[in-house]
Structures are given as structure tokens and as C-alpha cells.
Symmetry: C2
Subunit: 392 residues, 2 copies
DNA sequence: AAAAATACCGGAAACGTTACCGGAAACGGT
DNA sequence: ACCGTTTCCGGTAACGTTTCCGGTATTTTT
């Protein structure tokens, strides 16, 4: 018969059902339940990273002493400290950041949410972020929303659950609701917006001066003698899209040029849309003689399409873009663009986060504006015909 | 006089030195030390995220019960469970992943170390990684080594300290010593190498078929009638560099073409070096009529330099590159390259990691080879003079 | 109705770390 | 030698979670 685990007598032991797959017993004498532990699989030893207690055990000291020694605390004898440091090195001790973070409620990690890491603008921005925060001892966790609102929300929640110390975000194209980045949802952790921001949320922001950039590049086209300037704008829902359109319109107005609705086309940045818009323009009685493509690779799509149609750039049609510095300099003809300085944007966003960490609740959210620089290349220099590059 | 904290009498209390900046007392009656707690700053309440105990307290149940309810455990009444779930939702409870990870010693996070996120190849590879691991519920922590060995090592150590569940790494150009990714240093967590691998380490690997890609692209040049093919190779220390050189050499040999040492130049991928190499070649009595640039943007540097020098591509000088698909299709003339499928490489690396997690110690490290596809464009089509694009 | 089985919950321990604070020994001055 | 002071170390609790397991109440069986 079964013996009681407590009194080791078998007399008063009786079966008492099954629990979690094992036979259960009850000892009347001890008034005590227990289960048949024989059938248990051997408690396989999990792989073990050396802990502070391991170090402590070797030297016969307390874990707290080891902690003090390793963290350069003062309440410790220098001999003890050295001995502990030696043993720690010998055992290749590495502190468990999870435990440290749990204790200190500080992960030294920030989360970054961007639409797509494959876009050079964001890759460069992340580089800027990483450079700044790495110096301050932070790591970076990167999520891509792939321009999906749902993915963005789940990314943010996952980062919050991971207890990141801060959140740097550039919203997806779809995002219209910003509850997920409001202080309540984010448990008051610092949030910094960059590039695509929301005015609904009272957070630090880094934006680029879309209006001025668009204005400058449009004025440049006018200076080059362009008479009929079309704009290939982005989705109307995007703030950056609206701002760039406004800058373009203001430049036209300031130069007493008419705003022609047929010259303003909104697309979702798809190459096919850009080509379709171009063909529609070319079919007009008065086709434009210059195009301002406000984003991404659409300017390149236009260049390729124009070449295929036998039109000369810039003489028949000038083309200017916005951003994408690296590619713009590579392509032939060189594309006139506005250098948006994504690296600086990333750096600035990171700095705002760090400042917010330092100042705590004294921090006043503010918006940084990074102004782009007009970089003039061949694609807009009407009537020159020569390669020309002007770096500002 | 001071009153004892224990017996509240002041008679037997005497000063007993200073400790940590505060007056210390000793009560003879109680044989008890204590300090003057009056001067302590108010224990400021830290901001609080709702925990399992908060939920438990509301309902008057034990934390363990809440845990069971939320994790869909069986030992719980369905009414209790529902009540707990309701309260949890109401309090906006989100589990603390740190605590969970500490308990389960599983972070559901993988670390990725790459040389530079701004290079499209790596950005795309990361995208592939992220797609696969996200589906499996893992998050990604990204570090850039910026081609520095020291930074790479510290990145790896930081990721290990963060207790990532796996490590996907592409080594820096400098890295010659691989101790930091050996099982011992990595505490036995799964390590997957991709692109730039090390044969020293017995890990799963994803490599691209450099040899074949280089062979194919060189044979293509020969088919196009190139007689004197130069190669702009990378650092000799890089394995990929050596493999591509070998593929190139084999193609020449197979076609009874001489290997000319003056046609083989190793550079560190810097643009200036590429231009210098070009000028050196052009100054030769017999300059090459085709160049194979094995990496990064050097092919573009060559195209620009050739254009400036008034040489026609491909008729005077054919140029082929390796990788950088996106840019290659944008530039004029289109650059013939080998599409390396970075997205697939990332995906495959991620899958190898997941498999290793499933199989545990039964996993047999193996090497996946991703073969590149030759994409022929204008820059290598000698004597055609027309725009030609062949997508495979 | 007694015995056996089941359902469900609470308590405790553990993950690895650090802060706090008291104890004891060593030290210093009279 | 005594007493006040300093040095240094250990114990404990806590961070938030989950797992284990015993206890109790309820249900089922005999």
C-alpha cells in the first residue's frame, strides 16, 4: 500500500481521486493530501546561464554582496570586490537584463514603428535614431507596419507590453485613429512622432518642412521657365501630401500662375498610377511642361516613362522629386529633389526622446521642423542641356 | 531625545555613528539599531501599470487564479474566468512581458546583427526575416555593426544579455575572430549566419551562390564578345569576395582566356577606389573592355565615371554588377546584375531559426544556398545599342 | 449515508536582480 | 579597557508572472 509522505505510515492512507493525471491519496492520520510522485518525469535540468547566486555560492557570500561588488557600490571591501569580479569573469557571468529591467522597470530599449524598412528614407532615419540612442545606452526594437493600421496598432501594443522606455513612430498611410499612441494607451511612456505625425496627440514631433520644400522646388521650376506645372500628389489623407500640395499652390499663386485642377492628381504612390497620370496629362490640349512628383519613386517612374515615349527631360518635360537623395544622384538625368535629411530627422527624434527621459514630466512637447534643401540636378534645368549638379 | 522604533522609550537610546549619510541610533533596551527616517524624501509613487495582482484584488481572488483564467488554463470555473477577463479588460491589463520572459526564460525576441541597415540588401533581408518570425510570434531586435568588429561583438553580447531566443547574424567586414558567436559564448541559443558566414562555427547558414553567380555573369560578358574582362573585387578577407573572384576566374579559364593580374583589383568598396581602379585600367596599354564589379554601388560609380570620361557603355566598356536589383533597374543604362534575392535569404535564415527552435538539440546545422538570377540589361549588351531589358 | 472522485481555488516558491537596513566585527580615541 | 564610530556583509522584500500542489467544497458513486 501507499505510505503517507508525512507520517510514513500506510495504515490511514486511502485513494482520493485523480488530479492532473496522477493518483491522489489522503492520509487520515495526518489529514493530508498528496500525489504519487514516482511517475513524474525526471525534472530535466534546463540549460543554465551563470547567475549572481552562482557567483555568490562559489565564494560563500550573499547574492546581494555580489550585486554590490559588480555595480561598484560603496559598501564593500575592495578585496571582496576584486575576488567577486574575478570569479564573475571566470564563470563568464553576464547580468540578466530581463531581471534587471523587471526590477528597475527600465528596459533601456526603445521601440520604433515605421511603415517599411526597405524604403531608404526610413532605413536612413533608423540609422540616425540608432546612432543617437546607442550612445545613450539604449537598444532599438524595430517594427514595420507595412502601411497597415491594424499592424501598426498591434506593433505599438507589443512594444508597450515589452515595456520599452520610449516609442518613436511614423504612422502608416492608413492610420486615421490615433488612440493607440495617446498617453493613456502608452502608459505615459515618451512618444515621439516623426515624418508622418498626428496633431491629435500632444507629443514631441519631428516633421519636415513640406510646405517650404514644395514651395521652393516649384519656384525653382518657374525660374527655369516652366509655364504649366503639374503635381503628382499623394493620398489626400496624408498630411504631408496636403502640405506639399499647398506649398506648390502657393508658389503658383505668388507668380500669378493659374491653379489648374487637371494638373493636380492624387495617387497612392503606385508606379502604374504615375504612368497613367502622365498619359492623361500628355493627352490634354495643353499638356504640362513640368511635373513635381511629391514622393517616393514616382519621379523615377515618370523619367522612365517619359524616356520610353521619346520625350526629352528636361526640355520637353522637367521633372522634380522630393527626397530619395541617393537614387536621385545616380539616375540619368540627375533628378532635382529636395534633400529631406532623413538621418537628421531620426537623430532629432531620438534626441527628443532622450530629452523627455531626462526632463520627465517637466518636458514640454514641441515640434521640430527639419527643412529640406533643394538639390538642383539636370532634370529641371530647362534649355541648358548640360549636366549640372548643385549641392547646397 | 530620540525614541526607539521598537520599545518607543527614549531612555536607552544612544547615538551610534552615521550610516549612509543618516544618524544612526542604538537602543540598549531592545538591543536594536535604527536610523533617523524623518529626513527621508517622500517615497514617490512610481507610475503603475495594472498587474495581475491589481485584477486579483478587485475580485478578491488570488493572483494565481487570475493567471490561470487569462491563460486559458483548465482548473478554473467558467464564471470566474469570465469575471476575471472582464475586469482585466476594464483595467486595460496587459501582461508584463518582462516578468513572463524571466519566468519562462523565453523572450520571443530574436536578435539580428547586420553591418548596415541603409544598404538595400540588408534592409530587404530584414524584411524577409521579419515576415517569417512575426508569423511565429517573435519580435526582432536589430543592431548595426557598421562594419566594425568591436561593435559587432558588443552587439552580440548585448543581445545575449537581453536573452534573445535566437541570433541571426551577417558578419562585419572586419570580423576575423568568431569566438563571440560560438555556442559557448552564445549560451547555446540558436545562431544562424547569413550572407557573410564563418566556417569556423558549426551553425546553420544561408549563403548565396557567389561562385555560380560570378561565373554566370562573367560567361555572359564573354558571350557578348568581351575580350578583356576586369574584376573590381572586394577585400580579400571577405569570403564572398574570394568566391566571386574564383567564379570569375573559372569562367575565364573555361573559355581559354588568360587571367591577367592587372585586371584584378581588390578594394574596400569605396567609390574613390573604384574610380582610381578604372583610371588605372584605362591607362594600361591594353585596357579592359568589360568590368565586373562584385559589390555594392561600385558598378554605379563606374557607370558615372565612364560617362564623365566620354566612354560609351556598353560598347566601349561593358559593366556588370552583383546585387542591388532596385537601383540597377532604375539607372540608365540599365545595369546587368545578379539578383541575389535578399528577401528569400532573410526568410530562409528565419526559417532555419524556427526549425532549430522546434527540433532543439536534434537539429542538424545545415547550409542553405540561395542561387542568384542573372538579370540582363543594357550595360552588358555590346553592339546592340538599343535599350533592352530582360527580366527572368 | 458514507466513500470516492471531481472541481476549483489559494499559498508558496521560483525566475534573477537590487534596495534597504540591521547586525557584527573592526577600528579609533580617550 | 571602554565606548563610540565605521566598515562591510547578510537577510529580506520586491519587481510581475507562472507552476506546483495541497485544501476545501461540491458532486458522483456505491
Amino acid at each position: 500500500m501507499m505510505k503517507c509522505t508525512k507520517c510514513t505510515s500506510a495504515d490511514a492512507v486511502m485513494r482520493a481521486g485523480f488530479i492532473r493525471g496522477r493518483q491522489r491519496f489522503f492520509c487520515k492520520a495526518c489529514d493530508y493530501h498528496f500525489t504519487d510522485n514516482k511517475a513524474l518525469p525526471a525534472p530535466e535540468r534546463k540549460r543554465h546561464q551563470t547567475t549572481i547566486s552562482d557567483v555568490a555560492k562559489v565564494l560563500g557570500v550573499a547574492p546581494s554582496t555580489v550585486s554590490r561588488a559588480l555595480n561598484g557600490h560603496s559598501d564593500i571591501n575592495s578585496n571582496t570586490r576584486q575576488a567577486i569580479i574575478d570569479v564573475a569573469r571566470q564563470l563568464d557571468y553576464q547580468p540578466n537584463l530581463l531581471a534587471q529591467s523587471l526590477k528597475s522597470s527600465e528596459t533601456k530599449t526603445i521601440g520604433v514603428v515605421i511603415p517599411d524598412i526597405e524604403r531608404p528614407f526610413f532605413a536612413t532615419a533608423i540609422s540616425g535614431i540608432q546612432q543617437v540612442v546607442t550612445e545613450a545606452g539604449y537598444r532599438v526594437m524595430i517594427c514595420q507596419s507595412k502601411e497597415s493600421y491594424d499592424v501598426e496598432v498591434s506593433n505599438v501594443q507589443a512594444l508597450i507590453a515589452s515595456r520599452v522606455d520610449g516609442l518613436l513612430i511614423c504612422h502608416s498611410r492608413e492610420t486615421q485613429n490615433f488612440d493607440h499612441v495617446k498617453p493613456l494607451a502608452c502608459r505615459g511612456i515618451p512618444v515621439v512622432h516623426f515624418d508622418r505625425v498626428s496633431n491629435e496627440v500632444d507629443s514631441a514631433k519631428v516633421i519636415l518642412d513640406d510646405w517650404n520644400g514644395a514651395f521652393n522646388v516649384t519656384e525653382h521650376l518657374i525660374e527655369q521657365g516652366a509655364q504649366r506645372i503639374a503635381i503628382l500628389a499623394g493620398p489626400e489623407s496624408l498630411l504631408i501630401s496636403r502640405n506639399r500640395l499647398a506649398g506648390y499652390q502657393h508658389a503658383l499663386k505668388r507668380n500669378q500662375m493659374p491653379l489648374r485642377p487637371e494638373y493636380e492628381v492624387h495617387i497612392e504612390f503606385q508606379p502604374e498610377e504615375a504612368v497613367a497620370a502622365l498619359d492623361a496629362w500628355l493627352a490634354l490640349p495643353e499638356p504640362p511642361d513640368a511635373i513635381f512628383a511629391i514622393n517616393y519613386t514616382n519621379a523615377f517612374d515618370l523619367l522612365v516613362a517619359l524616356k520610353k515615349r521619346g520625350l526629352r527631360v528636361p526640355d520637353d518635360m522637367a521633372v522634380v522629386g522630393f527626397g530619395d537623395e541617393f537614387m536621385a544622384s545616380m539616375i540619368e538625368p540627375g533628378l532635382t529633389t529636395v534633400d529631406l535629411h532623413p538621418y537628421r530627422i531620426g537623430q532629432q527624434a531620438a534626441r527628443l526622446f532622450l530629452e523627455q527621459m531626462r526632463m520627465k514630466e517637466n518636458f514640454q512637447p514641441r515640434t521640430f521642423v527639419i527643412s529640406g534643401d533643394l538639390v538642383i540636378r539636370q532634370s529641371s534645368l530647362k534649355g541648358k542641356g548640360n549636366y549640372f549638379k548643385l549641392e547646397i
